[in-house]
Amino acid sequence: MCIWGYKNMSKTKTLLTNLKNRFTFNSKKELVDFFVRIFFFLATIISASFIIIIIFFIAREGIKPFVTDNNGIGRVDVIRFLMGDTWLQGTVFQSNLYGVGFIIINTVYIALLSLSISMPIGVLTALFIAKIAPKRLSEILRTTVELLAAIPSIIYGLFGSGIILQLVYNFAKLFGIQSSGGNSVMATVLVLSLMILPTITALSEVAIRSVRKDIIHGSLALGATKTQTNFKVVLTSAKSGIFTAAILGTGRALGEATAVYLVAGNARSGPSLGFFQTTSTLTSTMLQGLKETIGIDYDIRFSVGIVLMIIILLTNATLNFIKRRVGNVDVK
């Protein structure tokens, strides 16, 4: 407390002297100081402005299809767009009958399925690394997980279209289902869960490691075994951090584009709820066949972008809400 007070005081003091000197340049040094500070501030303003630029420009392009008549094609109906079960009825550049309703469902469905696979595996792996594995092994595993988290998503996509598509295709055959070369909900979910697994593991591991020792000791002292402590005390205490991992994982799953595109099959209508059906997500739809850089088929991608941003914001808000409801245990 004392140290903080001192620190603030000294900071206030320097700030005050700076303020006094700001407009009375006694020397060249101070003039330089002033301009350098302005220069740094400008850099900061530039950095901060990009989020506004992104929102503004994507909104500007994305709203066009709904408010202009798109060079005679006609306005896109917002409700129809949001509820539609077919991406485009009619010919490209001649029709305004776009719909993303089914794609929204696909996207959320796929993200939730991926999360439900990689959450348990990721959290348990994290528990193993942080609490159960011998020190040497856990260090190796930790480094491996960090490296895996750094692998670019396109490589997960490459792996998906090289191996997972074939696996899914053969698996579907077992049930007598002819899948479209393996391109399916299942392949997409597998690729995504593989991709977010390292992220979730790494973040959960940090959360689990920072659970306070006295909580663990308390549990052990009460006669709980180590395993009981791990599952009932450590995991519960790390809940908040684990939720953060889930939020980040979901964000990545919702926003991933190239890897998903390679294995989804890019269905033009839906929703696709069956595991072996081809599917499409908001991101894969944005990547699909971009040829012109003007006109409705170009602008509509920005509209899909807006929808994606809203979905991510809503999902984050929901998960944050749950996180707060589930409660917070004191962690270091």
């Binding site: 595993l141 692998i151 490589i155």
Partner: protein
């Protein structure tokens, strides 16, 4: 007693589950490595890095030969290399990726007449030569049937040996190389860092050294932080809507280009650079700053001569992380640079980085998984090296102030 046994059983089962989860995670993820290396290892060689992606085709003609080659068959050529002493060229049979038979030039002697051919498609007297690694499609003669690649290398050499003249030799460079993408990636890394590092570092310095702790600073901070949650495809759209038109207007570019791509990447990287620079600035003890200020230095001098040098390893870490991100980025660049694989790279032209090259290969019909995997090996290697470097750097950095 039975209670305790039951508990032990449950404990063992639970513990077993964590073992299982960990091994599932490790096994599936190592499968990725195995897959990439098994598919891509076959194409890894030096030529891959130096070759063009697009094969170039030549129709070579020849003027009357004054002196034929005098070079005898070199020792390093094997029995599979058929050599014509007269023409000073060795050919061998091979299969291409689709399994079709092709004839590859395995050696050209220095005094071979084939070093001096004119372009039959283009009568502007440009001379060119045939090189090792070129693929010969056919040789046609004036007085007999053409020697085609389907008849094999031996036939082609025999036909050549029996003639003093030929009408035309059709050959092509191998192609399938990644020189263009590699150069593009290097350009993009350079340009992106050029934009992102100064702005990012200055922002971090401002936030950490100068900014007051108030509402405005907090808002600025959270605005920058918000960028991390934006998916990269959205950045791509932004690049398409903002930087592409901007660069088209003010530079010679006429479509998406390296510059617009680099600017887009710079925005993606800003939060990464700002955060890790700030982390490293925070580690520099306040004593350093006070000592410098007490010695009469102003805050500019303190920042540039004391704080920045002390945090240099942190900035280097940020740079390495940024490079890793640039190399791996695909979705944003598909919009902001385009997906056309190019051999002649220009800052104002379209091209692909290594990651986007993988994307282009995989979305082609048919997909070229082998070459894509080879590029993936290169990317993986770079990412691994960068990560190890970051680990070593940060370990040394933390030690310094302990």
């Amino acid at each position: 007693m039975s209670m305790s046994n039951k508990r032990k059983k449950i404990d063992n089962i639970l513990q077993g589950i964590t073992y299982l989860a960990a091994s599932v995670a490790v096994v599936t993820l190592s499968l990725i490595f195995i897959f990439v290396f098994r598919n891509g290892a076959g194409l890894v060689n030096f030529g891959l890095i130096t070759n063009d992606y697009h094969a170039k085709y030549y129709n070579g003609g020849i003027e009357e030969v004054v002196s034929f080659s005098q070079t005898s068959k070199p020792d390093f050529l094997g029995d599979d290399d058929f050599y014509s002493e007269k023409w000073g060229i060795a050919l061998s049979d091979d299969l291409n990726r689709e399994g079709k038979q092709i004839i590859v030039v395995s050696y050209v002697a220095k005094d071979s007449p084939l070093n001096n051919m004119y372009d039959r498609n283009n009568q502007d007297n440009q001379y060119f030569n045939i090189e090792e690694g070129n693929i010969v499609t056919s040789i046609s003669f004036f007085d007999k049937n053409s020697a085609l690649s389907m008849f094999g290398a031996k036939n082609m050499i025999d036909e050549l040996d029996n003639s003093d003249m030929f009408r035309e030799i059709i050959f092509s460079s191998l192609g399938g190389g990644i020189r263009g993408s590699l150069i593009t990636t290097l350009y993009v890394i350079g340009l992106t860092l050029l934009f992102a590092l100064p702005i990012g570092i200055f922002t971090a310095i401002y936030l950490n050294e100068f900014a007051k702790k108030n509402r405005v600073t907090n808002t600025i901070r959270s605005m920058i932080e918000m960028l991390t949650g934006v998916p990269s495809i959205i950045f791509g759209l932004m690049g398409l809507a903002v930087f592409v038109p901007l660069t088209v207007k003010y530079t010679p570019a006429d479509s998406a280009n390296l510059l617009s791509g680099s600017l887009t990447l710079a925005v993606i990287l800003l939060p990464v650079i700002i955060r890790s620079t700030e982390e490293s600035l925070k580690v520099v003890p306040d004593d350093f700053r006070f000592a410098s200020l007490a010695l009469g230095a102003n805050s500019t001098q303190t920042t540039f001569k004391v704080v920045l040098p002390s945090s240099l390893p942190g900035i280097l870490t940020a740079t390495l992380l940024a490079i890793g991100r640039i190399i791996g980025e695909s979705a944003a660049l598909i919009f902001a640079i385009g997906t056309a694989v190019k051999d002649d790279v220009s800052i104002f032209g379209k091209s692909t980085t290594l990651a986007v090259n993988i994307w282009s290969l995989m979305t082609d019909e048919p997909a070229n998984i082998e070459l894509a995997s080879t590029i993936a090996i290169i990317i993986l290697m770079i990412v691994l090296i960068l990560n190890v470097a970051v680990k070593l750097l940060s370990r040394n950095f933390i030690k310094r102030f302990e």
